[in-house]
């Protein structure tokens, strides 16, 4: 029985190697498919630029898109700093030995990861001001809402990334630090967190790029960000492609440098060039 089974599998391997889908064919197939799609996208973009984009309209709407870009950038910088900082504390609370901090942070993550960001924006924008009437401004509550909702939402994701990063640091690191007479907080700060940070870097970077794209949801509370500009221009001119091209350029001009920044930070935390 065992013999016939292994015989069959050998036969299958041989068929695989000699058949249509051997390694070389797969490689060529992969390369052709990806270049086909890339070429398709490039051609489509060129076609759109040539036939759909009005350069006169482009010139008149560029200033408002630059303003929107500056606004998005401002929201992103503030929410990024706040969400990464508080996310680190959420992550630390998740791995703490105290039941109460552990429980609170777990519930926090469950809620903010488990409900849509759009819902959270509505809660802050519409829900909070009615709880304490008169406390919040009727005008200008949008921007605080944006910062609060994005920070609370992304701190949960950063917290999970940091928790995973801490979990991946071997227990021996904490033991070695403690055996030298360093306290828990000191050992965390000097030994565990720098390593956890590198472990978490890719996931945190990923999340912060998503944060940039999440600013597009702010259009529902009438913040004059990029999608809002698209809607305004499109409804006035019925030209979809001219503003869409600007929207794409604007988002990519933030997200591509952010990706490079994450790569740079990962490279900097190379510690003698291991293979990780």
């Amino acid at each position: 029985m065992a013999d016939s089974y292994s015989g069959a599998s050998t036969e299958a391997d041989t068929t695989g190697a000699e058949g249509f889908l051997d390694d070389e064919t797969l490689k060529i197939l992969g390369a052709s498919i990806s270049s086909f799609f890339a070429l398709g996208v490039v051609l489509l973009v060129l076609y759109i630029l040539a036939t759909q984009v009005s350069f006169t309209l482009l010139q008149t709407i560029i200033p408002r898109f630059l303003e929107a870009l500056a606004l998005v950038l401002g929201i992103v910088v503030v929410s990024s700093v706040l969400s990464v900082t508080s996310g680190i504390f959420v992550g630390l609370a998740r791995v703490s030995n105290t039941a109460i901090t552990k429980g609170i942070s777990a519930a926090y993550v469950q809620f903010f990861r488990g409900t849509p960001l759009l819902f959270q924006i509505f809660v802050v924008y519409f829900g909070i001001p009615v709880l304490w009437p008169g406390t919040f401004p009727i005008q200008g509550w949008e921007l605080p809402t944006a910062i609060i909702a994005l920070t609370l939402n992304h701190a949960a994701y950063v917290g999970e990334a940091v928790r995973g990063g801490i979990g991946a640091v071997p227990d021996g690191q904490m033991e070695a630090a403690r055996s030298l007479g360093m306290g828990y907080v000191q050992s965390m700060r000097e030994v565990v967190i720098p390593q956890a940070w590198r472990n978490a870097l890719a996931a945190v970077g990923n999340d912060q790029i998503i944060l940039v794209k999440d600013t597009s949801l702010l259009t529902v509370i009438a913040i004059p960000e990029l999608m809002q500009q698209f809607r305004l221009v499109n409804s006035a001119t019925f030209d979809p492609w001219t503003p869409l091209v600007l929207v794409a350029i604007a988002y990519l001009s933030i997200t591509i440098p952010m990706g490079r920044l994450v790569e740079y930070l990962e490279h900097r935390a190379d510690w003698g060039g291991d293979s990780r």
């Binding site: 071997p170 021996g172 690191q173 033991e175 070695a176 630090a177 403690r178 055996s179 030298l180 007479g181 360093m182 306290g183 000191q186 000097e190 030994v191 720098p194 390593q195 590198r198 935390a269 510690w271 003698g272 060039g273 291991d274």
Partner: protein, 243 residues
């Protein structure tokens, strides 16, 4: 002369498993106490209890007369006096060899950087790594990493050094260089408690051999006496398996 490190009827449980059973043992100043025994006999656990990486459930462990489990005792202060070297090195991968050695003196003692570096360089020279000071752990061999770990523990000027199977994770050809450093340390009068499977080292460098089995100390004695003529049946059985 008083004992430097005392284990007094120590009991330790992992859940329901009784891993240390009323273990009593004293290590004197400048003594090299070598703990041997089969896997699972509790020797590593005993060592880890000695700087409270493991909590004990009964008895008492004292360093220089001060109970480690005393609620008033500052465990961080006590641990500074106990150097520990681990089987898996546990060097800090984000720090160079020198930074590994100077981290605790800088952060715990708060001494200034020039002094810490000077002492760190001296210690790394002492373990034969003068040329590798600025290398990161992953650029070093296992033997080199373990020697950095020894220098790191020495940097806090401990009263006693604990060695937990420090050569077990090394390639055979790298064991010698680590044992050589330990031998020099013993010759210089360092008080050491060594858990090891290296019987040659135990016999040559040890002042006293402690045989553990099933969570208890079954025999203690001078190396010549223990290896030539063990007193207990358990000791005879253990030695016969080594040959």
């Amino acid at each position: 002369m008083s004992h430097l490190l005392e284990f007094d009827e120590v009991d330790k449980y992992f859940g329901d498993t009784h891993v240390l059973k009323q273990v009593s043992l004293d290590v004197d100043e400048t003594e090299v106490c070598v703990v041997i025994g089969p896997s699972g006999s509790g020797k590593s656990t005993l060592l880890r209890c000695a700087n409270r990486l493991e909590e004990i459930q009964g008895g008492e462990i004292r360093l220089d007369g001060v109970p480690l489990s005393d609620p008033d005792a500052d465990i961080n202060r006590l641990r500074q006096q106990i150097g520990m070297v681990f089987q898996s090195f546990n060097l800090f991968p984000h720090k160079t060899a020198l930074e590994n050695v100077t981290l605790a003196p800088l952060k715990v003692r708060g001494i200034d950087e020039d002094m810490a570096n000077a002492r760190g360089e001296e210690l790394l020279e002492q373990v034969g790594l003068g040329a590798q000071m600025n290398s990161y752990p992953n650029q070093l061999s296992g033997g080199q990493q373990q020697r950095v770990a020894i220098a790191r523990a020495l940097a806090m000027d401990p009263k006693v050094m604990l060695f937990d199977e420090v050569t077990s994770a090394l390639d055979p050809e790298l064991v010698g260089e680590v044992l050589e450093v330990m031998r020099t340390l013993a010759d210089d009068g360092m008080t050491m408690m060594v858990v090891t499977h290296e019987m040659g080292f135990a016999r040559e460098v040890g002042d006293r051999i402690v045989l553990m089995a099933d969570g208890s100390v079954v025999e203690t004695g001078a190396p010549e006496q223990f290896f030539e003529n063990p007193e207990t049946e358990r000791g005879k059985k253990f030695l016969s398996k080594l040959l």
